[in-house]
């Protein structure tokens, strides 16, 4: 019973979102059926498409996890973008200069990338702890700083002179991560992180404190939680997850180097995934796969129909809004109906 309602809500909301989107597709003089057909064909239709969807999803799973855990704990970390970029840049630069055997180098680079993301989030944690600066705005501003700083580093000190756009040199070939049946190993790392995070949130006392902090900060404080340390810890952990996403994209993506615009929209996608998932960890996994499917299918959609791939960004935001709208609207509606029924009883 407890599962039926959220699942039916989700299906209803996604169906409604696709319905709204088809109006816009019709306005674009295309057939919604053809567009969705292409989306399915290239997103899920064959093993090739499906594995590509999984490969498109791994950064989203990690940034989504990052946002989910942060929001669940009442820590508004919106800095996934900046943390992601630092993870990617540090990994890309060390991947050029560090000489290690691949069995040691790949995990080391991934962890170092994650740590640089954590360090960037740690800056926000420091501001919060030392100066009581709201992490909501400071992480946002740190995004812009990270964007320009990494771009500077890729444009001047670590520039590959042979590249057309500002980018670093290709990382050493030993550090290219392999695929298992066309699926990136990075995807399995992301899956593992979902379980690890689940364990942290639901099976450790720090995770418990973080959740209590999200329910009610005052209650957590009165109950004896060290709220300041918990906040710092959550920021570091979520920064690590975003940084790891960036590092894995360098190690297991297609480019194996840091280029301008590599961060794309991964940070905000993560925030949207967390919102759709209502901060649940396994729901985050589901919605990350869903968004990965849309992104991967979008390439095929542009190829097959006249609808440009940018449409998916719009579709994504409609889905987010209808999902939260349906969820919240249904709750208000049931509350209203219940109130009316109670009132009816009283009047009688």
């Amino acid at each position: 019973m407890s599962l039926v309602r959220p699942i039916s809500q989700t299906i209803l909301a996604i169906a409604f979102a696709f319905f709204v989107a088809s109006i816009f597709i019709l306005l674009h003089h295309s057939s919604p059926l053809e567009v969705y057909g292409a989306l399915y064909q290239y997103g899920l239709g064959s093993w090739f498409s499906f594995s590509n969807t999984l490969n498109a999803a791994f950064p989203l799973i990690l940034t989504g996890l990052s946002a989910s855990i942060a929001f669940m704990s009442g820590v508004v970390n919106l800095g996934q973008h900046g943390q992601f970029l630092w993870g990617a840049l540090v990994c890309a630069v060390l991947g050029v200069y560090l000489k290690l055997p691949s069995w040691l180098g790949i995990p080391a680079l991934a962890v170092l990338g994650g740590l640089s993301g954590a360090a960037w989030a740690g800056l926000a944690a420091f501001f919060k702890r030392k100066y009581k600066m709201d992490e909501f705005i400071s992480t946002l501003m740190l995004n812009f700083l990270a964007e320009y700083m990494t771009l500077y580093l890729a444009t001047y000190p670590f520039l590959d002179p042979k590249a057309y756009v500002p980018s670093t040199r290709l990382i050493r070939r030993e550090y290219f991560m392999t695929n298992i049946f066309d699926v990136n190993v990075a995807f399995f790392v992301a899956l593992f992180m979902v379980f690890l995070c689940w364990w942290f949130v639901w099976r450790t006392w720090r995770g418990y404190e973080a959740r209590m902090m999200g329910y009610n900060k005052l209650f957590a404080t009165v109950g004896g939680c060290d709220v300041e340390t918990d906040t710092t810890l959550v920021l570091l952990l979520t920064g690590f997850l975003s940084g790891l996403a960036g590092a894995l994209l360098i190690l297991n993506g297609t480019q194996h180097r840091f280029t301008k615009g590599i961060g794309a929209n991964f940070g905000w996608d993560g925030v949207m995934i967390a919102i759709m998932a209502n901060n649940g960890l396994f729901q985050t996994l589901f919605y990350a796969l869903f968004i990965g499917f849309l992104k991967n299918g979008a390439v095929g959609m542009e190829f097959e129909t006249s609808v440009p791939s940018e449409f998916v960004l719009f579709l994504q935001s409609i889905i987010v809004l209808t999902l939260v709208g349906t969820r919240s609207g249904l709750v208000s509606l049931t509350d209203w109906l219940r109130a009316k029924r109670e009132l009816g009883k009283l009047v009688k």
Binding site: D134, M141, M272, F311, L321, V324, G325
Partner: protein, 296 residues
């Protein structure tokens, strides 16, 4: 030296305008205790439709009309979700920002068949105002002359908003909605309707900021061209606790910093570093605000 300072102030006034306009919009929501963070998206949408209307119909007034309509539509969506459906305001705001980013990026591609930016000679810009009387005054003339008229509108709005907020019935009710909604409801006023008005005002002002961005500051539309200005305006509102005069002043400080960067570029400071200045400044202002709170 005087010429450089005059240039700097001229440019500062120019880049302060969109931030100030968006902040005035957000200010109404702030006073109604609506956590509206959709200024970024509303600004972006306004900027896109300003270019669309102006280019399509050949006059900047059409651009403004379209932009204001887009602002109203986004305000309507915000109200539908945040006020009627009672979705979390923060989540609604993020959703609207994403919606604006997605829609403008898609429309740019679908309507103008370009990726990245739409630049054309035939986009009519907002006319620039010249004051023959002031232009003769050496320093002041250089600072104030030949701005798009929205710059002066923004300055005037600082006073108008002050009067509206603190000297009219509407302003009083709006602030009461923020501070004690039950008191407002008890005299028979609709809280939802007042919040709706604050959202509509936010849409209108943010759209105006967008118009200024794409038809005044520059004459083009590029993907995600608001580039965090909405967030900076939000930071300003929170810092000055929504006081219109202080908003204008703080916006000017940010405009000054943004252009100080341009000046530094002449001395071979890489552009990536100078571009960081407004964001670093926001962090710094946040820091000094926190210090002030501590000592108080």
């Amino acid at each position: 030296m005087g010429a450089i300072v005059a240039q700097l102030l001229h440019a500062a006034l120019s880049s302060a305008t969109p931030i100030a306009l968006a902040a005035f919009g957000g200010m109404f929501s702030y006073h109604a205790n609506v956590f509206n963070i959709a200024m970024e998206g509303m600004m972006l949408m306004g900027a896109y439709y300003a270019v669309y209307g102006a280019y399509r119909f050949g006059h900047w007034l059409y651009g403004m009309l379209f932009a204001l309509l887009s602002g109203l539509i986004l305000a309507g969506i915000f109200s539908l979700f945040a006020i009627v459906l009672k979705v979390d305001e923060f989540i609604t705001g993020i959703g609207i920002n994403m919606l604006a980013l997605g829609w403008t990026t898609y429309s740019l591609r679908a309507t103008f068949q370009v990726k990245g930016a739409f630049i054309s000679q035939s986009i009519p810009a907002i006319p620039k105002i010249r004051f023959p009387a002031i232009e003769k005054v050496p320093f002041l003339g250089e600072v104030l002359s030949s701005h798009p008229f929205l710059v002066f509108v923004a300055i005037a709005f600082a006073f108008v908003c002050h009067v509206v907020l603190y000297r009219t019935k509407f302003g009083l009710r709006l602030r009461a909605t923020g501070e004690e909604p039950t008191a407002v409801a008890s005299v028979g006023l609709s809280i939802g309707r007042l919040k709706l008005w604050s959202a509509v005002l936010c849409g209108i002002f943010s759209a105006l900021a967008g118009v200024y961005l794409s038809l005044g500051y520059v004459t083009l539309f590029s993907e995600n061209m608001s580039n965090g200005r909405g967030w900076i305006s939000l930071a300003i509102i929170i810092l000055v606790r929504g006081r219109p005069m202080s908003i204008m002043l703080m916006s000017l400080v940010f405009g000054l910093l943004e252009n100080l960067g341009m000046l530094l570029q002449r001395y071979a400071v890489p552009p990536q570093f100078t571009a960081m200045l407004p964001y670093a400044a926001t962090l710094f202002v946040l820091y000094s605000y926190a210090r002030r709170l501590k000592s108080a």
